[in-house]
Amino acid sequence: MTTNSKTDKPRRFRQSMTALHTWIGLLPSWILYFIFITGTAGYFDSEINQWMQPELPIAGPPKDQTTMLAMAEQELYQQAPDAEHWIIELPNEREPYLHIYWETHLTKADKEGLSEEEVEAKREALQGDLLLDPQSGKPLNYSGKAEKARDTAGGDTLYRMHYRLRYLPDGFARNLVILASLFMLIALITGIIIHKNIFKDFFRFRKDKPLRALLDGHNIFSVFSLPFQLMITYSGLLFFLSSIMPLLIFAPVAMMGFDVENMRSARSIEEMSEKNQALIKVVEEHIFKLPVELEPSGKKVDTISLELVAQRLISEQGERKIDEVTIDNIGDSNARVAFFFPSEIDSSASTNIVYDGVSGEQIVKEDSGIELSAVTEVDTVMRNLHEGLFAPPLLRWLYFISGLMGAGMIATGSILWSAKRRRQLEQRQAKHIGVSLVEALNAATVIGLPIGVAAFFWANRIIPAQLESRVEWEVHSMFIAWAIMFVHALLQNKSRVWFEQCLIAAIAFALLPLLNGLTGERHLLNSLPQKDWIMAGFDLCMIAIAGLFFAIALKLHKRQADKATAHSASQLSQGA
């Protein structure tokens, strides 16, 4: 009896966890799949941006950093000599152009008596940006005699969709993503608990038994990428900490005597009370280590040349890769030049060194005696791990593959749920609308969403480059294609849906490189010989995805044919 009760307890525990894993995994699975697909695409957002702007020319090899800064500065003096702030982004492996921005902040007096739209229009008039050739420092010569690259939603939109979704109010979408992520965390933990043979399952795939194959596929996707899935879910939740627990932010603020109501109601920092603004400055400077932004003094003084400051930086720090340079209060005695460096896994993106913009002396911050705890370091590492901005190309591909495995894990899990129920229903010769709906949702999401993404890329090349609302229509195309796939999944015979959608996906992705060739100059025949790896990589990736969908379609077709043969054979034998 004692032995039985001892073995019963863990078995009962595993059983209850299995039920929890099943339901908590199924309910948010379609949203999670959307989050994983769009988030995974986001790891290559810059590359997608460039493919979606085929007018961009191939960038030549960059000059040294000091020369590029001098060239950018020269162009900024031509484009925006009166702007208060300049930003220069130096090229890197993923973004090969020199990017300059300029802006002038609006003061309270500037905004007085203006409506929100008027303020926005005024703000837009005071800012601008331009891409420069990293060789010549001159504005890019766009291919096809275009004056500028087309507006596009780009990879940034795909990336943003993974935490903002689309067409939903911001707060509602955020809460939906939080809820799905909380469910995912529990699904992962319960998945580990119910998994008796993690090591054994790592090597097991029973392809001849469809249900077993699905389970083995689910296990393989999960076990292979388990550390990634745990990290990405947990760290993703950390980004929403202040939304999940607003008290975490506002309670200490209130305790220290600051005005929480003012902080909550203000739309921007400028609208907050002076005391709240002072608090935010302290947090930015001492906790997030951002450079202090000074108000212009009004005293006109020439700003030191960037070349000189850059040379001083190199003499003090050695040759160091610069990510971005900001110049505040240009032409004012309070001018500041801040150098930002690429983010690393254990440091925030704001690692910076600041120089006085007039004397060129480094501004060394006073030691405030603040030491952030190990837990805060863990928090920084987790957030950096989630974003993967530090990742070199190989690691970025690993992120991409792990993200796809996460999507595969979610997809196989929900298909397994419906396949099990379908078999039970068939045994009882019964029908169930819920199971049919889940089946349609599964097909329309697992294959329909990638078709939607392909439609997004197609729309980028088909919608006229001059159309004003083309950015919105690129995104609409994605969701229209996805909706059509859902209707198709609802109406079409269940045995044909997966095959047909896989075939559509294969064709849609396979033709994208051809479409690129017809609508741009950086197609595979040019990009491969010219070692234009960003464009070639995108096109080759589309061919690989098409191949994957084609292979699945073939497999499904073969299974259907086998089933039909077995069915007619059994009918023949019955007739005999």
Binding site: R12, F13, S16, M17, A19, L20, L182, L185, I186, I189, T190, I193, Y234, L237, L238, L241, I244, M245, L247, L248, I249, F250, A251, P252, A254, M255, M256, G257, V260, K275, A278, L279, V282, V283, H286, I287, S368, G369, I370, E371, L372, S373, V375, T376, V378, D379, M382
Partner: protein
């Protein structure tokens, strides 16, 4: 989280003046991050326990009712500034 605010060093509240106490802010920031990071683990453990309980009675008596009672007690100990934030 509320327990932390109930037990927190009252000196922090004494900094409610026009001067901004940078060290106090850093200390609060560190504590907040610890609470934030551990909250998801506590949530997971609680969710697993609730679903593991075979009966709703056990779930309520073992975790949910004691938690609610604890919350009420802690609420009464909170500084008025935080109580104000929690009031509807």
């Amino acid at each position: 989280m509320l327990l932390f605010f109930a037990l927190v060093d009252k000196e922090l509240i004494a900094t409610a003046s026009d001067d901004i106490n940078v060290l106090a802010i850093a200390s609060v920031f560190n504590s907040m991050t610890t609470i934030g990071l551990s909250s998801f683990l506590i949530y997971s453990a609680a969710a697993i326990w609730v679903f593991h309980c075979d009966s709703a009675k056990l779930a309520w008596s073992s975790l949910m009712l004691p938690s609610l009672a604890g919350l009420c007690l802690i609420y009464l100990q909170l500084p008025p500034a935080i109580q104000g934030l929690l009031s509807p």
